[in-house]
């Protein structure tokens, strides 16, 4: 892959900035068949528009990574775009099951899918290690559960106290895509509200794309706002409403009715496929 970060002049020096491109360019440049792809956003700022663009471009054999697969990964798994799913909670929040995810795991439809599951604490710490470029993270957890046999966790002894702790390997997706409220013209991004693991995902990934509600001349820093500088981002794409039916605090509202409707749309294979074709997400 070619280097994509551009340079901007500032005070006689040069610095890296993110390229501002269209969503289709950002996805085409970064997401190839077979990559490990994290689309993060913990119950907020879920990058739906970017995930849908991945489907429009017909990408397949993806290793999809996300703490909470949510409707977006139900759609991506349901059209057979994923060979593997890495996650920690695969439900439709407050509604019930993700039916396409269940169908893939229970019946191998439309294809068998490899599952690698963690606890939230495990996944979050894997991202932290990835962002820190450390090989693993240390935490208390997993011990005494059946997850130990089915996930990536090992025991380490604290060299100072002798305490036995859980070690989880760093998570380093090939590509991370997150959604934020705004960026400036150099691709410096600010998001606010529930911050999830987006900063960690961007810093852990090989390449990072951020879609934004709006591009502004100057970021006005918000209390509790999370700023991700353009020099750790490859591409920024303008995608207004890009997290619907999730939401961007202060800009769009979560479409709770659609989360309930999805339970009906996704329950039946043909209904699901018909709906995805209507949306241009399945050929």
């Amino acid at each position: 892959m070619q280097p994509v970060r551009t340079l901007a002049a500032e005070g006689g020096g040069l610095r890296h900035v993110a390229q501002i491109v269209s969503l289709s360019e950002a996805v085409a440049e970064t997401v190839r068949d077979g990559v490990s792809l994290a689309l993060e956003g913990f119950t907020h700022l879920i990058p739906f528009a970017a995930g849908h663009e991945v489907l429009r471009q017909g990408r397949r054999e993806l290793e999809l990574i996300r703490m909470t697969p949510d409707i977006l990964y139900d759609q991506m798994v349901g059209v057979g775009a994923a060979r593997k799913l890495v996650f920690s909670y695969g439900g439709n929040p407050g509604v019930g099951s993700l039916h396409r995810f269940r169908d893939a795991v229970e019946h191998g439809w439309p294809r068998a899918i490899e599952v690698e599951e963690h606890s939230h604490a495990g996944m979050a710490n894997r991202y932290v290690a990835g962002a820190a470029k450390l090989p693993f993270a240390v935490m208390r957890g997993y011990a005494g559960t059946d997850l130990v046999e089915h996930t990536q966790v090992a025991t380490v002894r604290c060299p100072f106290t002798g305490e036995e702790l859980a070690a989880v390997p760093a998570l380093r997706p090939d590509v991370a895509i997150v959604h934020a409220q705004e960026s400036d013209r150099d691709g410096n991004v600010q998001l606010w509200g529930i911050p999830g693991v987006q900063k960690e995902a961007v810093l852990a990934a090989g390449r990072a794309v951020v879609t934004v509600e709006r591009i502004v001349d100057r970021l006005e820093l918000k209390p509790g706002g999370v700023v991700i500088p353009g020099w750790v981002i490859d591409f920024v794409a303008h995608a207004p409403g890009g997290s619907l039916p999730s939401y961007a605090l202060g800009v769009t509202e979560r479409d709770n009715d659609f989360y309930r409707e999805w339970d009906v749309i996704s329950r039946d294979r043909e209904h699901f496929q018909g709906w995805m074709r209507e949306q241009g997400l399945l050929r």
Binding site: P93, G94, D146, G196
Partner: protein, 233 residues
Amino acid sequence: MSGLEYTNGELQTIVAARSLAGKRSCFIGVGRPSTAALLARMVHNPALVLVYESGTIGAKPYRVPLSIGDGELAQTADLVVSVPEMFNYWIGPGRVQVAFLGAAQIDPHANLNSTVIGDYDRPRTRLPGAGGAPEIATGCEEVVVIAPHTTRTFVDHLDFKTTRGERTTMVITDLGVLEPAGGALTLTAVHPGVSVEQVRENTGFELRASDSVRVSEPPSGEELHALRELLSR
């Protein structure tokens, strides 16, 4: 007796809300636990700090949220933190006192399954998975489980042990209340009109009953009114 009509589901929520009287903080998921915690703030404990996994600490939602990430939680919270901070700074070190958890299966030791029904590699039913539960159940001081009382839920052996039950102090169902005694869950209260026999019939393991099984206090007018008003918002 208050003479008010109510469902056992309503009483389950009300009993769960009562369990939060005098507590400092509670970790909650969506659904009945969230309703119960909001009710507790209305009736028993206005200072209760609600903690949602999404990172919202001290949230004061007016409506029962559909998801743990609803915007109102972030807008009303005392602070909003990232997921790593939530688990590493707040839950792991024991800064949240009580946790409300649910599950598809519960065994006699209050261990929980929220991962699969059937074999792991070829599950009959694939459930959502662990989420935050394993570390919440070992980080918080006390765990209160809220679950429907059926033989499918209360089982001798879990199909998958997602979450450990050592810190569980109470299991609140639509039939009564179970508490650990001598290493196993024991029936300590039945809801009005429910017999011990009926609870046993709906429990998939040999259920011990305490020597003096209490009858849950029926909802007061204030509790029932507050609950219905909350759900109508």
